[in-house]
């Protein structure tokens, strides 16, 4: 009886050892299959700041600091265009290598995040972000930036800025799936900010003027 139980136990253990890596792999594959990105149609943005306010409210962004912001550019013909900006969740993020404690990291879904418990507040990542998208949070004493509202994604919700945009200028989704984002990215010419940094940013723009790319 005792030996039979032991055999059964060993069978179950070996079976679970086989199954466990498979389940982990499938979970990782699912994560890797979701490469989150955003598309911003500059022609649709009229600078209402709803996204900026929604982001600040959702993420408790300190006054004077911005996880997302809107730049205004006056064209030669006197008209204005508005360019929303934020962390680009780059494929090759320059902000990660300088971090001495591995606090800044990249997830399988392509998000570039910060572990507040590991961040010592040295500011190295802020200095190495070409887009000025990071800042030191004076309340928490750590580096801060856009997370694509990771906490909302976990519940199947859209990032706060996307949800708040009244004109649909921001489109969010996974590049690995068939959706509005991939349909536009595949069919229309898109631009990214500062391509010369080789950071492979994952915020795509439609109708981005050349002057912005500084």
């Amino acid at each position: 009886m005792s030996s039979h139980t032991r055999r059964e136990f060993l069978k179950m253990t070996s079976a679970s050892l086989l199954v466990l890596p498979l389940s982990l792999t499938s979970s990782a594959a699912e994560g890797a299959s979701k490469r989150y990105a955003m598309l911003i149609d500059v022609n649709k943005c009229f600078g209402c700041m709803a996204c900026v306010v929604a982001c600040a409210a959702e993420n408790n962004v300190p006054l004077g600091r911005f996880r997302t912001w809107i730049e205004r550019l006056e064209k030669t013909d006197g008209t204005n265009i508005f360019i929303p900006k934020q962390c680009n969740h780059c494929d090759d993020p320059p902000c990660i290598p300088p971090c001495p404690t591995r606090a800044t990291y990249k997830t399988a879904k392509g998000l570039v995040l910060i572990n507040d418990e590991l961040c010592i507040g040295c500011g190295a990542c802020v200095q190495n972000c070409p887009y000025g998208a990071r800042f030191m949070n004076p309340v928490k004493g750590v580096a801060d930036k856009c997370t694509f509202c990771d906490h909302r994604l976990a519940y199947g919700l859209l990032p706060a800025c996307v949800e708040a945009c009244p004109t649909g200028a921001r489109v969010f989704g996974s590049l690995a799936e068939e959706n509005e984002l991939t349909a536009i990215v595949r069919s229309k010419p898109t631009q990214v900010l500062k391509p010369h940094t080789w950071a492979k940013p994952q915020i795509y723009y439609l109708s981005l003027p050349d002057e912005v790319n500084r």
Binding site: G64, W69, P97, R102, K106, I120, G121, G123, G141
Partner: protein
Amino acid sequence: MLPGYYFPNEAAEPLLWHPVLFAYTLLISGADLLILASLAYLFGSLRRAIPLMTMLGIGFFAVVLLGPLADLRSVHRAPLILTSAHIAPTPTNPGLSLIALQTYAWVIALVLSIGFAVLMFSYYSHQASLTATGVRKTVYQLFSLGIITPEKYRRAKLAAKAIAVAMLPPLTLWGIYPASMLLTQTWNPVWRGWPLLPVIYFADTFVVATAVFIFVYYIWKLKALEHDTLLPILKIHAAGSFSVAALTGLQVAFWWLSSPFMAEMVTPLLPLMYAVIGLLLLSFFLSLLSIRYLQANIAVSLVALAGTLTNKWNILINGQLISKTGLAFLELELHGPWVLETVAPVAAGIALFILLSIVFPLGEGA
């Protein structure tokens, strides 16, 4: 703030790395004093200068991390640099952090430097323990490492030479570390476009190291200055000063020739760069003069220190105020007792040096 295009998060905190870090870049000269001491020990030259260089070097190098620690926003998590160090790339953490790498290099270099100094002074410590009383006797007995005969001291000297060789790589890394970091791990358009920065920094730390040595030596010896001790130091200083002045001039020329955008962007840095070139050339000529008139070396030291202070301020503080867009120069805002904060790490280094100079005889030849 000058008109121009900059990012809003830059406006919120134009100076991310505060002047206390500027003190840290000066204290790195301690690493160069230790490089000089180890090279002199290995080649059997500058025997009378080695103890002073070693103790000054250890005094400065031991406190070098106080500046960066003071600048951390969450300093209570600082030990994570050692326990969660980003010194190897992984899929979630690509690349490696120069800050983490240099923290380990600091630990290694400091332990080796202390070992080098203790071995160098071991026989003296034994002799001192014979006449000392109380706590001093225990301290000297500890530092003698049981080296109580000339024969054992000869072996200790061999060990000290081996340590002197081992010290060189981590100390050299420290000599170029801040500049390497500014050049490769920041996206400041000026630092990124300053390819000569590591060379300038390396040469500059020799200028600071020798200037500090000359200053301390002058105060210590006053009118009993020894030509044989000072001459090689003055030669190194002259070479360093001229190199930094020439390299700075070369960098300015490079910017002018590279692009009109770059030339315009660096305009706010140029007045102090010209001042640096002038001061270091003056220090170079004064060094040559001091070789003949030894009493003039205090002027060499003061002029060089003024030049290097200006240089470090310009690179670290003014450089940082140039926006990542390259199109604006942000206004400098300093808060709180920043002067005291900046001076404190240097003062700690001086205090440690004084303590070491009480325990170990700086007048002993190595």
